[in-house]
Symmetry: C2
Subunit: 344 residues, 2 copies
DNA sequence: ATGAAAGCGCTAACAA
DNA sequence: TTGTTAGCGCTTTCAT
């Protein structure tokens, strides 16, 4: 078999061979168009023999629909995102869409160029994971009639849909758990401070502490980044035992795992005897027995389902207003945080 | 600001406003075309005011190049792949390409439908990660003139490029390490047996053992899947101490981590005192101190660079023959495997 | 360096 | 139900 490259087979070729018109071929490949059984059979046969497949790009030039969804994503090293990506892609694939990936430059703020490029591809919709959009860009998407859904982020901007878990309630639940566990000195390791998720988690945590007359005892910033987080953890815990927190809430699991490693392997502390650690997300490694991380579960499946739902609704009917969906987040109790006596 | 959707701005609109011809606009947006400074300025201005951007889909209809690379991927829960995907996408983005993702149905073999769909999008090239292709499909891609590169898999089929690490040598190096560590009973937990990576790693391991007059003492299959692997580990290690392996090579890190957890937390064994564990890939969690997994590093960066290199070469010149690249894999020594005395 | 015109592969009126 | 025709938004000869 030589590597000879056959000339491109078009619908015209199929039409000729089948002895029908170009439109007949087009109709055969358009779901729900009217073709008689007889012509359908003729087209089917010719198409099969010629190994013809419609060119979706040419099609979308006319229909105005590319069946491509642009996805902007930044932190694939946070294992919440690969999982979300897999589910998102699968859900969209089932409905005949596909995902075009755009990696956001790690340097925040530069998402704008990516989004512009996405628009160039005539995508039918955009999912932005874990980053925010400038209002300028938002406007552009709206002008282009391309719906945008923020995944795992909420933005108070007209016309921008968003799906997230209830970060505020989640943060508050962590505070209550830690309080009930009889802890005294509460640490917090923040994610990147520009992120709404980070802010909401922290606000909920503080509010929960405050309701019990407590406040944060120590605070560091980990920027959603493991190395930065390790430094933050050393800063917070490599001190005299009496001034060291006995509980710490870390803005996500990815960082919390780094914190646990520093605590146990660098500082020789026991988790949870010396320090309770709680994360956020419930990524798969949080469930690995070596960590058994108590955390707040973000239901990726439901978040993806909502994201897809909003997006497809808006594609089908552009006049549907933007929706912001906040999904309940559940505490997942494992071994990294001391429990109140009664619960045990 | 109302959500009014502006009518689509085309190159004709820009031409009119700039007082030039359609071709002038096209040339302005075509790198390396001849436009005078004066017209360029006029077009630039009009385009800016109208917020015009070329429609890449319409362009590719003519040029025959979509600047889209199709990626078929299956196991995003193996953290080797998110990392690879991120690097791949970044590398391609730098060269003006973008990745269209196709999740392969978990049931192997059905990749064919995905690849066909990819072809429909007129992609310029295809990367297939972690799965094999039928010869039928391979032929189709060739006929369509679309180069295919297998990532992390090698297939002995004419016209199919592939990039992988040296799985055979890697497996052999593991055997030698374990032998040097003074182990006596060698276990192996296999990945999915249809995978060439799995077969090569096992073959190398066996060969290494054989060279020292040893053989595999116990063997189970984990299918690249954590739950299956946990069962396999119980089967292998929940036996009388005298008949239990004192070293085990697991076909990848994702599985090796599950094995370590079963060993330590279910069976109460110490790693590496009771059992040495070695994995393959060197995914980020392998370096987390809680595992400190000795493993074989697959250099994702180099593998991606080679993949992109082959792909772009073949896109640029379709007559370039398929290339198979095998990249050296390095042993990474951590704490999960006992070391020979001299090395310590 | 520029414009006119042809056409990429397809769908969507419109007539028949 | 079927075929004819006119484009979708752009690039690319070919003249000028």
């Amino acid at each position: 078999m030589t590597g000879k490259r056959s000339p491109k087979v078009t619908a015209v070729d199929v039409a000729e061979r089948a002895g029908v018109s170009l439109s007949a071929v087009s109709r055969y490949f358009t779901p729900g168009a009217s073709v008689s059984k007889k012509t359908a059979a003729k087209v089917a046969r010719a198409a099969e023999e010629l190994r013809y497949r419609p060119n979706v790009l040419a099609r979308s030039l006319i229909t105005g629909r590319s069946r491509i969804i642009g996805l902007v994503v930044a932190y694939l090293e946070n294992y919440f995102y690969p999982e979300a990506l897999e589910r998102l892609s699968n859900a969209l694939q089932e409905r005949g869409y596909h995902v075009l990936v755009f990696m956001a430059s790690q340097t925040a703020g530069n998402v704008d160029r990516e989004v512009q490029e996405i628009l160039d591809y005539q995508v039918d919709g955009i999912v932005v994971a874990s980053v925010a959009l400038s209002s300028e860009l938002t406007l552009r998407c709206q002008a282009a009639g391309v719906p945008v859904v923020l995944f795992n982020r909420i933005q108070d901007m007209e016309g921008i849909s968003g799906v997230s878990s209830d970060n505020h309630a989640g943060g508050r639940a962590v505070a209550e758990l830690l309080l009930a566990g009889g802890h005294q000195r509460f640490g917090y390791i923040a994610g990147w401070e520009g992120a709404s998720t980070q802010r909401d988690r922290e606000a909920g945590y503080c509010e929960g502490l405050k309701a019990a007359g407590q406040t944060i005892w120590a605070r560091e910033v980990g920027d959603f980044h493991q190395e930065t987080t390790r430094r933050a953890a050393r800063e917070m815990f490599d001190v005299a035992p009496c001034s060291r927190p006995d509980a710490v809430f870390v803005a996500n699991d990815h960082m919390a795992i780094a914190v646990m490693d520093v605590l146990r392997f660098e500082l020789g502390l026991d988790v949870p005897r010396d320090v309770s650690v709680v994360g956020y997300d419930d990524v798969p490694p949080a469930a690995w027995p070596a960590y058994a991380l108590t955390t707040v579960r973000q239901p990726a499946d439901r978040m993806v389902a909502e994201t897809v739902g909003i997006l497809l609704d808006q594609i089908a009917n552009p006049r549907i207003p933007a929706r912001r969906v906040v999904i309940e987040a559940q505490l997942v109790l494992r071994r990294s945080a001391r429990l109140p006596k009664e619960v045990v």
